[in-house]
Point group: D3
Chain length 268, copies 6
C-alpha cells in the first residue's frame, strides 16, 4: 500500500519554459530506460520476490523512490511547456525562433495533453511493458537493474549537455546522483549473489546437463581477429573456466531442411 | 556483409513433434530475451561501435553467431509442428489428448505460418525493437548484454524442465553452454572497461556536476528495515564511496503545483 | 453491408497547403481519440449489441457517419500536403521558412505515403485497436463513448486554435458540432440506461456480494485534505449511498509475502 | 513523493492455486482497463492538473490507492501460480486435468517470470500507455475516469463468475466496492464541473464558432428507424438544445478528389 | 460518405457455438491479413488516390465491400461464442471437454467483450495500422493488394480445414470466392499498370540514375547453387534485362568503421 | 549458420553529415518496408520453406544479402550523424540553420544511441515483426516479396529526391538496382509457381468448395461506375473465368442480430 506526500523529492523548476527540451526530456520519463520503466520494473520485481527479505525490501525502497522520480520529471515537463506559443502562427511566419518551436515541439503536448507531460518517449511512442523484466531470479534481475540504471544515467548525462537551463540542470544533477547510487547498490547486491550462486545465471542449473565444451569458446564468426586479443579469449573466465578461441566456426548440425507440409495446410 | 552456410551450428532435431512445446519455445525465438533480440542488439551495437576495434570485433563475432541461433530455434519449432493435428476436430472431440493440443497450441502456427515458426513470443506477441539497446557507450552496452544473456539462459533452463524430449534437450544444452560463454565474455569485457572508465556509467561525466551528497544513500522508502543490513547500505560502495542509510526520506523540493493553463488550451 | 457515396459529408478544402498542420491534424485521424477510433469502436459496439434494437441502431447510425469523418480528415490532410517542398533542399538552406517545413513535417507523409494521409497519430505512431472498447454492457459503452467524444472535441478545439486557415477551420467547426451532438446523444442514452439499471456499472451484479462498507469511502492516500471538501466526500452519492471520508488509509490485508519458488523455476 | 507500507490494503489470498485463473486475472492487472491503467492514468492527471486543488487532491488520493491495487492483484496472481505443474509432462500425458493446465496456462508465467505476475493482459499483450489519458481538461478526464471504472468493475464482476475460489472472490468483492466508490466519486465530480462549465466538453469553446445547425441532429446513416424513438432524437438535449432527426444523410461537401501528385513523389 | 444496410452480404450463421473456433477465427478479423486490414488499406488507398478515376473507384468499391466482411466475421464470432461455459468451473473439473474450452478459449472474449468479437488476431494481439499501406503509387499498392488477398485467402482455406461446422464453412466458401475475385481484379489492374509504367516500381525513376550493373544479378550469398537453376538466374528478366548469376558475393565498399564519438555524447 | 565480412557490400559514405536526413533515412532501415523487414521476412521464409530446394536457396541468398543492406544503411546513418550539434543551444538561438537541425532531428539519435542508428522508422517507432510474413505457401510469399521490394524501391526513390548529397545518392543508386533485381527475381519465381499451381492462392484448395458464382464479380459498392470500364470488370479474368459487373450490391444474408447475452456476462 502506498502513501503520497505532495512536496517533491527534489526541486523540478526550470529557469524558463522550453517546449523543445520538454520533448527531449520525455525520453527519461516514458522511454525504454525512463523512470516509468524503472519504477514498474522494480515494483514487479519486489512483488514477485520469493526469497530473502532484504533483497525484497531493497527493491521496494528503490521502486517507491522511482515513482517519485516519475513525478519530478512529469512536473518539469509540464513547467517547460508553460506558455508554449502553439496558437501563434502569424508570429511564427515572421519569427523563425517561434517557427522552429512550433515545427519542432511534440504536437501531442498541446493537442492531447493541453501542455502536460505524456507517458511516451521523446518521439511520442507510448511506454509499454515490454521494456521491463521481473524474472523470479534475483541475480538475473539485479543485472537487469544495473543495465537500466547505466542506460538511464547515460541518457541523463546527455540531456545535461543538451540544455543550459540552470533549473533543469540542477534536477538532472540530482538524478545523476541517484542513478550513481542505484548502480552502486545493484552492483553490490549482484556481487553478494554471485558469491553465493556463482557468476553464471542461473547458478543452480546442473553443470553436467550443459554441453560444456562450448561454454568457454569465443568463435570467430566475423572476419578479423581483433577479438582474439581480449580478456574474453584468453586465460581464466569469470566462472573459473578457461577461455578458448576458435579461429573458424564449425557447423555441428545437420542441413537446415524440413519435411514437406501436409496438404491441409495448403502449401501450394 | 554476410554469408550463409546451410548446415546448422548444432543439431535441432526433436525426437517427436510437440505442438504445445513449439508454442512455449517461441519465447526464446521472438520474446523479449529471445535470439532475435540478442542478434539484433549485437548487430546494432557492432555497427554503432565508435571505439576500440577489439570490442567491435567481439560484438560482431557474437552477433553473427546469434543469427545462427535464431535459425536453429526456428528450425526446431518447424520440426516440432510437423503433423500437428489441426484438422482433426472429430478425433479431438473423442480424444482429450488431441483436444488439448488443438486448444492449447498457437493458432497462428497453423493459420498464418502453415506449421512454421513465428517472429513472436510464446503468447504470439510480435517481436519489436523496443526490446534492444545500442547506446554508444560500451560499458553500458556490455551491461545490457550481461543482462540479456542472463535472462536468456534462465529461460532456456526453464524450458529444459518443461520438456522430456531428448532431441530438444540436446539443443537446449548447447544453448545453455553458449549463453554461459556469452555471460563470461561480456562480464570479462565489462571488467576491462570498468577498470579503465570506472564503475559508474558514464564514467566520463564530471563528478563535480553531480549532486554527490545523494550518490551513496539508500533511502528507506518502504516500511521495514531489512534493506539496512545489506552490503549496499554499509561500507564501501563499488565506486569507492561510502554507503549511507537514511531511515526516512526527505522531501527537498517544492509542492507539486502548476500554473493555470492558458485559455487556448481549453482547460474547461 | 455498406455503401459509399463520393461527395463528402462536409467540405474538406484548406485555403492553402500546410505540411506542418497536416502532421498535427493526424492526431484526430489516427490518434487515441481520432476518427478511426470512434468509427471502429462504434462498429464493434453495434455488431456486438445483444439487447434493445434502438441502441444498436443509434450506434450503427453514428458508426457509419464516423467512417465518413475519417474520409473527410484523410482528404483534408492529403490536400494540406499538396506541393510540400520535400525536394527543395537547396532552397531550404537559404530560406528558413522552407527549412522549417522540411525539418518539422512528418517524413512518412512524403517517403511512405507520397503526400497522402497516414493511419497514425500526430507523432507517427500507428493506430491500434487497444484504443477501443466494445464491452457487451451498454451503459459501460455509452460512458466510453461520452469519454471519446469529449476527448475528441477537446482536441478539435485545440487544433482550431493552431491554424488560421479558413477552410480548415470551417471543417473543424463542423466536427465540433457533430462532436457536440454525439456527446449529447450518448449522455441522453446513458441517462436512460442509468434510470433502468442504476448508476453503478454493472447494475445487475448482486449488491450483497460486494464488500459494501468500502463502496462510499474516499480514502486520504495523498497528503492534504482538499479533497475532503468535494461533493464526492460528503452527502449523498450518485448511487444513493452516503459518502464518507477516511482521514488515513487502513491496511486490512496481510504482509505482501510469497512462498519460496520451486527449484525447477531456477530462482538462483 | 511516495511511501510504501508492506501490509496489503486488503487480503489477497486464494484458497488454492489455479494457474488458469492466474492467466485470466491478468486482464485486471495489465489489460486496457486493468489497475496499471487506472494507477498511471490518475497519476498523470494529478501531476498535470493546472486548476483547483481539490480535484488534484482527489485524483492523487485515488491514484495512490490504485498503485496498491496493482500490488494486491500482482500478489494474488503470484499465489495462484504456486506449485503450477510446469515440469510434469509425464503426468500430464496421463492426467487430462494436468494436461489442460499445461496447455491453457500463460507460458510466460513460467518461462519469463518464474511463477510471478506479468505486466500484460490476459492474452499476454504488454500493457502500453496508449490505454490512458490525461488531457488537461478536468471534465474530459472525469469522463475518462467514469469510463475506466465502469469497464474495470464490469471485468471484475465477470471474473467473479469465472472462479469459485472463496479467497479470490473475497478480494474481488473488495475491488467491486472500490470501483463502485470510484464511479460514484468521478460522477459526483463530473456533475460539479458540468454545472460550472456546461455539459459539452470543452465548455469554453465559443459556441458561435461551431457549425451549430449540426449540433443536435441524429442522422439516419444506418437502415432502420429504431433510433428515431430514443431520447436522443426528440425533445431537449442535455446541453439545452433540441434534438432533431434527419431521415437521410445529406452530403454537404464536394467530391472526394485530389490533385495529381508531383513527379518527384513517383506516383508511377 | 457511407450508408449502412442491416442485412449481411452473406449468411454468417454457425450450426452451433464453438468458443475455440471463435478464437481461431479472430485471425481473419483482426490479424495481419484480416478483414480490418484490407478494409482500412483500401480505404486509405482510395482516399489517397491522385490519378485515374477508374482505379480509385475500383478501390473504393472493394474497400466498402470489405467493411461488410468485417461485419460478417464479427457476427459469426459473436454467434460462435453464445453460451460459452465460462462460469462452469465445477462442470469443467469433471468434464474434460468443458475444461478444454475454458482453458483454450480467448479469455478476453468473456472478460472484456462479454461474448463478442475483439479487434485482435487469434492470439489476442490488437490490430494495428502498421499492417497496411497506401503508398501513393498505384502499381505498388496493387501489389500490396494482391499479396493481402493471397495471404487472406490462404488463411481462410486453412480455417476451412479446421472446422466441420457447415454454417461456418458456408460463409468461408463465400469469402474464398470473394478473395478469388479480389486476387483476379488486382492482378488485372496490376497488369494494366505494368504495361503502362513498366514492371519495376516505380517505373518513372530515371534508369540512368540506377547502378544498373547490379539490377539483374542473383548473388550467391547462401551456400549451395540450387538457386542458379531458376528462371530468375538465367535468360530474360521480367523487365527485359538479362539475368546473371554471381557465384560469390563481392564486397565493393569500405570497411565498416566509424569515427570516434564526441565527448559530449559520453561514449565512456 | 552465418559468417561476417567487414567490408561493406557497397560504399556507405556521405559527402557530409546531415542529421535531418539521418532521421528520414531511418524509414528504409527500420520502417514497415525497410531493410530489417526484408531481411527477417526472407530469413523466416527460408527457414520455413518445406518444398523445392531451389526456392529455399533463392530466398536464403537474398535474405543473407539483405542483412548486409541493414548494415550499409546503419553505417550511413551513423556517418550522417557525426558532429550533430546537439550541445550547441547558444549557437542555435542565433543561427536558425542550427536551430532547425536541433528542432528537427530525432532526439533518440543523440539521447539513446549517442549518434548511432536506431531500429525504428523515420518517426522513431520501433520495428516490429507484425510487418513481415512467412506463410508456408511459396506463391503467397513471393507476392509478399514483390510487394515489399516495390514499396521499398519506391521509398528509396523518394529519398533520392530528398537529398543532394552525392555519397548518399550513390548508395541509394545501388539499393535501387538491387531492389530492381529483387523485383525481377520474385516476379520470375511467382510466374513459375503460377504456371504450376494456378493464379489464385492457394491453388490447391478444391474449386468445388468455393462459392464460385461470387468469384468473378465486381460489385459496385461505391457510387460511380468508372470501375466498370476496367479490365477487371470485363472479359477473361487472370484465372480463366469471366469477369462480371454487378451494378448494385445484393444482401444475401440475414439481419445482423444477436441473441441476448447471458446474465453471468453482466450485460446490464
Amino acid at each position: 500500500m502506498f502513501h503520497h506526500q505532495k512536496v517533491l523529492q527534489y526541486p523540478a523548476k526550470p529557469d524558463k519554459p522550453d517546449a523543445l527540451f520538454a520533448k527531449q526530456m520525455q525520453e527519461i520519463l516514458g522511454g525504454q530506460y525512463g523512470e516509468i520503466s524503472v519504477a514498474l520494473q522494480y515494483l514487479f520485481q519486489g512483488w514477485s520476490a520469493r526469497g530473502e527479505e532484504k533483497y525484497k525490501d531493497l527493491i521496494m525502497d528503490t521502486a517507491t523512490e522511482e515513482i517519485g522520480h516519475v513525478e519530478m520529471i512529469a512536473t518539469m515537463i509540464a513547467r517547460l511547456l508553460e506558455g508554449a506559443p502553439v496558437n501563434e502562427q502569424e508570429e511564427a511566419a515572421q519569427n523563425p525562433v517561434i517557427g522552429a518551436i512550433l515545427g519542432g515541439m511534440n504536437p501531442q503536448h498541446a493537442i492531447v495533453a493541453g501542455l502536460g507531460p505524456r507517458p511516451t518517449d521523446s518521439n511520442g511512442v507510448p511506454w509499454n511493458a515490454g521494456y521491463i523484466i521481473a524474472s523470479g531470479n534475483m541475480l538475473a534481475d539485479m543485472r537487469a537493474n544495473i543495465n537500466a540504471e547505466s542506460q538511464g544515467r547515460l541518457q541523463v548525462a546527455r540531456l545535461y549537455e543538451m540544455t543550459e537551463d540552470k533549473g533543469v540542470r540542477d534536477m538532472l544533477s540530482f538524478l545523476l546522483a541517484r542513478d550513481s547510487m542505484h548502480q552502486n547498490q545493484w552492483i553490490a547486491a549482484a556481487r553478494e549473489l554471485e558469491e553465493k550462486n556463482g557468476i553464471i545465471v542461473p547458478g543452480s542449473f546442473p553443470k553436467e546437463l550443459e554441453a560444456d565444451n562450448f561454454s568457454h569458446s569465443l568463435i570467430n564468426f566475423s572476419e578479423g581477429e581483433e577479438s582474439k586479443e581480449g580478456s574474453w579469449a584468453n586465460g581464466t573466465a569469470p566462472d573459473g573456466g578457461t577461455f578458448k578461441y576458435e579461429e573458424a566456426p564449425t557447423a555441428h548440425g545437420e542441413k537446415q531442411e524440413l519435411n514437406p507440409a501436409p496438404e491441409y495446410m495448403y502449401p501450394k
